[in-house]
Amino acid sequence: MKHYLDFEKPIADLDVQISELMATPDFDKNEGLQASRKRLSDRVDKQLKEIYKKLTPWQKCQVARHPDRPHYKDYVNALFTECTLLAGDRNFSDDQAVLGYLARFDDRPVIVIGQEKGHDTKSRLVHNFGMARPEGYRKAIRLMEMADKFKMPIITVVDTPGAYPGLGAEERGQSEAIARTIEKSFEIGVPVISIIIGEGGSGGAVALATADRNLMLENAIYSVISPEGCASILWKNAEMMGSAANALKLTANDMKKFGVVDKVVSEPIGGAHRDPQQMYKSLRTALRSTLKEIGQKRPDTLRRDRIEKFKNMGNLEEKKPSKRRVKIL
């Protein structure tokens, strides 16, 4: 069953008409029906383009959390081959909110680490809605070390409302686990590419986004707090999430402006969920060119540049031309 967000509702009727047309027994032979279908599809595209062109930040949050949107595992299956799931933190348990794979991208073996939200009630419960516990982050650390050992690039995929705020998670050191993941990200000498595919929720997200290159899908969001959380704290009213989403500047374009994200990957008309195949194709291209750019860099160079990148993060002033000392002979 397809899900429609409030502002996608005008499309729902057209989608129904299209599927009814296509269900007609002689649709394949009837050129008239096919022409009608084409007209309807064009109308859908046109309307979606209109709608998506002027999405508000809050609407983008809804798209980022769209239940039909491709999730981490969909991207893993579409972008990589020989995907082999690696489980466990070797200490306490296997956190299903963070999944790690040894896989191949084009010809190159890579480690893929990401957050899986699940696509229906059952899988959402299994994956805890993409909210990791400390074991998830400790599994990530283990796999980062392994990637470093075998000189494999790391690709992280971020999609989480945030780290899990639970009793056990606190007891077992949620904050320490996140802090150590960030720290580990600065130690490894292999390329790290991070992709925010949906929700980049706070500390739980940044733990997997301390990367050499940060990519972000057009309708994804990245924020220090959810708009609802921000609204309830600052506006004392969770219903003000629209205003909070505006104020927080959490869209992919904002991230590009702040220098937090290096590349925004365009989504198909109407968002990734309208045409996942097209989405995979664009992301594959973006990933390929990013890996080409940094994939051969030396460990020391990678570490040094990564440290510089995050040290200078938020320096919004115009970059002053570096003072070159001219040696006078």
Partner: protein, 305 residues
């Protein structure tokens, strides 16, 4: 040397010496409700004499309790671009900044000082809970990086007193970026083999605990401080249960293995002195030569009582 913004003479900053502070200034203990005279408050380092409740203490007061003869210099912190998001909720962020600056008379939520603790040159950074709940934004990130750089330059240990509700929402994603950014500074200390001691004070939660506050070589906490990633209310809403007594408090974290020790504020100076000297491979501090107990307090009490 322009990193020295001011030079604080002994006791000059102390409230005791300020003639304009009235005698009848009282504070109510947030835990037992007893009324405490401000002079007693200063002498007890903002710890309730009746119930030992550790109350909020400003960075400058904190420095007074730590450095030899209360002598220290403040490091100059570079101010970042103000209000990068032009953030406005029910109030403008710039207005919130102004009012916090007025109340605390500080620029932002962290101060960094350099001085001797037991004759050992030490850098101390302290977060200011009175300044927008100590929240971590670009300025706090700058302060941590400045503290680390100074440590590297003079080969000194870093002691950081953390307290914050978390990241500063009004700086949006840039506040979140202070998590990796501060980690870079701490990482550089580690690479240089310099000690980093974290003291977690009430409360320390959110992005602050999930970055520099949990990366210490040694983790100390003041008694009964609330320390955690998620706030207790959020957890209760999530698990729909009441949390056990003492959950996320220092003693609980000690039991769960997240801390090395819980230290009373009156013993903090001595503890830090011993730890930094050991970690820096210096001979032990000599009693008599270095003030161990709060001698200065005793002097003051004779003056004020």
């Amino acid at each position: 040397m322009n990193w020295i913004s001011n030079y604080v003479r002994p006791k000059l900053k102390s409230m005791l010496d300020r003639k304009d502070v009235p005698d009848n200034l009282w504070t109510t203990c947030g835990s037992c409700g007893v009324m405490i005279n401000h002079r007693t408050m200063i002498r007890s380092m903002n710890v309730c004499p009746d119930c030992d409740h550790h109350m909020t203490i400003s960075p400058r007061q904190r420095f007074d309790t730590l450095f030899d003869d209360r002598i220290y210099k403040l490091l100059e912190i570079e101010s970042p671009k103000e209000d990068p998001l032009s953030f406005r909720d029910t109030k403008k962020y710039t207005d919130r900044l102004r009012s916090s600056q007025k109340v605390t008379e500080e620029k932002d939520a962290m101060l960094v000082a350099e001085g001797n603790i037991g004759k050992l040159k030490t850098i101390v950074a302290a977060q200011d809970f009175e300044f927008m709940a100590g929240s971590m934004g670009m300025y706090v990130g700058n302060a941590i990086l400045a503290a680390c750089e100074r440590c590297l330059k003079i080969k000194a240990p870093l002691v950081l007193f953390a307290t914050a509700g978390g990241a500063r929402m009004q700086e949006g994603i840039l506040s979140l970026m202070q998590m990796p950014r501060s980690t870079v500074g701490i990482k550089q200390l580690a690479d240089a083999g310099l000690p980093y001691i974290v003291v977690l004070t009430n409360p320390t939660t959110g992005g602050v605990t999930a970055s520099y506050a949990m990366l210490g070589d040694i983790h100390i906490a003041e008694p009964k401080a609330l320390i955690g990633f998620a706030g207790p209310r959020v957890i209760e809403q999530t698990i729909k249960e009441k949390l056990p007594e003492g959950f996320q408090r220092s003693e609980y974290l000690l039991e769960k293995g997240m801390l090395d020790m819980v230290v009373h504020r009156k013993n903090m100076r001595e503890t830090i002195m011993v730890l930094t000297r050991l970690l820096m491979k210096k001979p032990p501090a000599i009693r008599g030569e270095i003030t161990f107990e709060k001698n200065s307090d005793q002097k003051q009490s004779s003056q004020t009582d």
